[in-house]
């Protein structure tokens, strides 16, 4: 079964990490990802640009309204996501815990995926 792990954290706090701290977290995460990759369980991974670069299209008005900023004003922001193959909720929770040890703070929202298209990007 496919799951997505949505990564939430205070982007102000993450933005206050020093470059060394950021690099250290990324290195630890890369190690976890490498193993998931070797197990054939790692799908697409994305780290998102801070929400100050976000734009929201509100479709409930006609024509749709373009707004600066993220969809939801929250204390913690969506900063990235993983797509992970796992046997069960417990299995994906284990993976999430492992990622969490590499990158503490904030929260992961785990959501099963119903439809998944890999897509194909031009090089």
């Amino acid at each position: 079964m496919l799951y997505t792990i949505l990564c939430y954290h205070s982007e102000e706090a993450v933005g206050a990490w020093s470059k060394d701290e950021d690099d250290a977290v990324m290195t630890k995460l890369a190690a976890v990802q490498e193993r998931l990759h070797a197990e054939g369980r790692l799908g697409p991974v994305a780290r998102l640009v801070p929400t100050t670069a976000a734009t929201t299209l509100r479709k409930d008005s006609d024509p749709p309204l373009v707004l600066d900023g993220p969809y939801a004003e929250t204390k913690e922001q969506l900063l990235g996501f993983y797509v992970i193959e796992a046997d069960s909720l417990e299995h994906v929770l284990d993976t999430a815990r492992e990622l969490g040890r590499a990158n503490p703070g904030g929260a992961y929202e785990i959501r099963p995926i119903s439809t998944f298209t890999t897509g194909a990007l031009a090089e």
């Binding site: 205070s10 102000e12 706090a13 993450v14 933005g15 206050a16 990490w17 470059k19 701290e21 250290a24 977290v25 640009v49 801070p50 929400t51 100050t52 670069a53 734009t55 373009v66 707004l67 600066d68 900023g69 004003e73 204390k75 503490p104 703070g105």
Partner: protein, 425 residues
């Protein structure tokens, strides 16, 4: 990450909001800072055990405010000390407090905190030092290092600056729209000063001054988060990101300057470029061009060119034309002349900068460019003279060394001073 590292990051990121709110309560910067310090000390004790609160800023405001009120009572000895337990369990107070401190309050609190650092009575370096200390939370030692002065000199500078703003009228009422826009503009200018203080460093000071660029970018992101639909703040952040993206390519291993055209673009920071370009796209939609947006758009033209020869100099020339109209200044015209020289040749560019001579007679880059243009036109003796003036005005050793390279090249190509030796190439 260790406990200390994440707590430090959380305290740093909560600082502008928390200190801004405490300043609004107490209307006194010293009391507010002391209250914030107390709250931080308590956070260092409590958070490792209990974990971080959901809203660190609200926690720090609440604890800081109580600590300061407590202090005041202690000093006045009029009331019994409050029971420690009354403020030690904070989990249940976070929610209502966070509600009261809604976005609008935070916005003006942070803006006010930044704005008091831009007081017009303060010299620019004091504004920058004060903002780094008060809003950024950098230590005096860090700031002193970035300004290449001793700790005690910087301590004095900051104390003096604080004294001045304490005497000044700090406006505490919520600003109207016009005033808010004016404050935003002043704060944006100050953030760009912080950035430039870091960016203009020579190769030997890059490491010491790099935190200034990072700090300016962090504070600009904070400002944009509070004022999400301000195209000039988007432009400012984009400009800083795009300039900073080239940091790793600006100096060679031996410390010499590498010009934009010669930089290894593989060393440019792609993440910063992506963010910068995204912000310009957002800003342009507002159709309210301003100087930061135009400068960012110019920086973006370089970021978008895979190789130096792919640079769209015609577009850059047009953008500088727009910038000249928005913000006329001899330095802008000087920069435009670089683009003009690429589009229309060195003679046109030289004609453009010659009238600036009187205003820019003390400006390194004026003579550097003038020398380069004269060199391209084969006017060797005049080029040599301009380069000589440039060296005398160089701000860093690397700048002087860079011009000396030009002179060496002139000497090689034209061994006889002032005379063009035929066939020497």
């Amino acid at each position: 990450m260790t406990d200390l590292a994440w707590i430090d990051a959380a305290l740093t990121s909560a600082r502008p909001q928390a200190l801004g709110a405490l300043l609004r309560y107490f209307r006194d910067l010293d009391i507010a800072e002391e209250a914030f310090q107390d709250a931080c000390l308590r956070a260092l004790k409590t958070w490792p055990q209990k974990g971080p609160p959901r809203d660190p800023a609200a926690w720090l405001i609440f604890v800081g405010r109580n600590a300061a009120i407590d202090q005041t009572r202690r000093r006045s000895r009029q009331q019994a000390l409050p029971d420690e337990d009354a403020i030690s369990d904070l989990d249940d107070v976070e929610e209502p407090l966070a509600e009261r401190l809604d976005g609008a309050h935070y916005r003006d609190d942070v803006l006010r905190l930044l704005f008091i650092c831009c007081h017009p009575d303060l010299p620019v370096t004091q504004q920058v030092a004060l903002a780094l200390r008060i809003v950024g939370g950098l230590s005096v030692k860090q700031i002193a290092r970035a300004f290449l002065v001793g700790d005690s000199a910087m301590e004095q500078r900051i104390t003096r600056a604080k004294g001045r703003i304490a005497d000044a009228d700090v406006p505490f009422e919520a600003p109207g729209p016009v005033e808010r826009a004016q404050r935003l503009a002043a704060v944006a200018a100050m953030l760009y000063l912080i950035f430039n203080e870091g960016y203009s460093a020579g190769p030997d000071a890059v490491e010491a001054k790099a935190p200034l660029c990072d700090e300016a970018i962090r504070l600009a992101r904070l400002l944009l988060r509070l004022f999400q639909a301000e195209p000039e703040i988007m432009g400012l952040l984009a400009l800083m990101l795009l300039q900073h993206s080239r940091s790793g390519a600006r100096f060679a291993a031996d410390g010499s300057i590498v010009l934009l055209d010669d930089q290894d673009r593989g060393l440019w920071n792609r993440e910063m470029i992506v963010e910068g370009l995204a912000l310009i796209d957002k800003a342009v939609r507002h159709r309210r061009p301003g100087p930061y947006q135009v400068q960012a758009a110019i920086a973006a033209m370089h970021a978008r060119a895979a190789r130096a020869e792919d640079t769209d100099w015609t577009e850059i020339d047009l953008l500088y034309g727009l910038l000249e109209r928005l913000q006329p200044s001899p330095v802008v015209t000087l920069n435009r002349a670089v683009a003009t020289s690429k589009v229309s040749g060195p003679a046109a560019a030289l004609a453009m900068i010659e009238p600036l001579g009187a205003k820019l007679s003390g400006y390194f880059h004026f003579f550097g460019l003038k020398g380069a243009l004269l060199q391209q036109l084969g006017r060797t003796a005049e080029a040599r003279e301009a380069f000589g003036r440039a060296i005398a005005l160089a701000n860093t050793a690397a700048e002087a060394a860079h011009i000396r390279q030009h002179l060496d090249r002139l000497a090689q190509d034209h061994p006889a001073a002032g005379r063009v030796a035929a066939g020497s190439k």
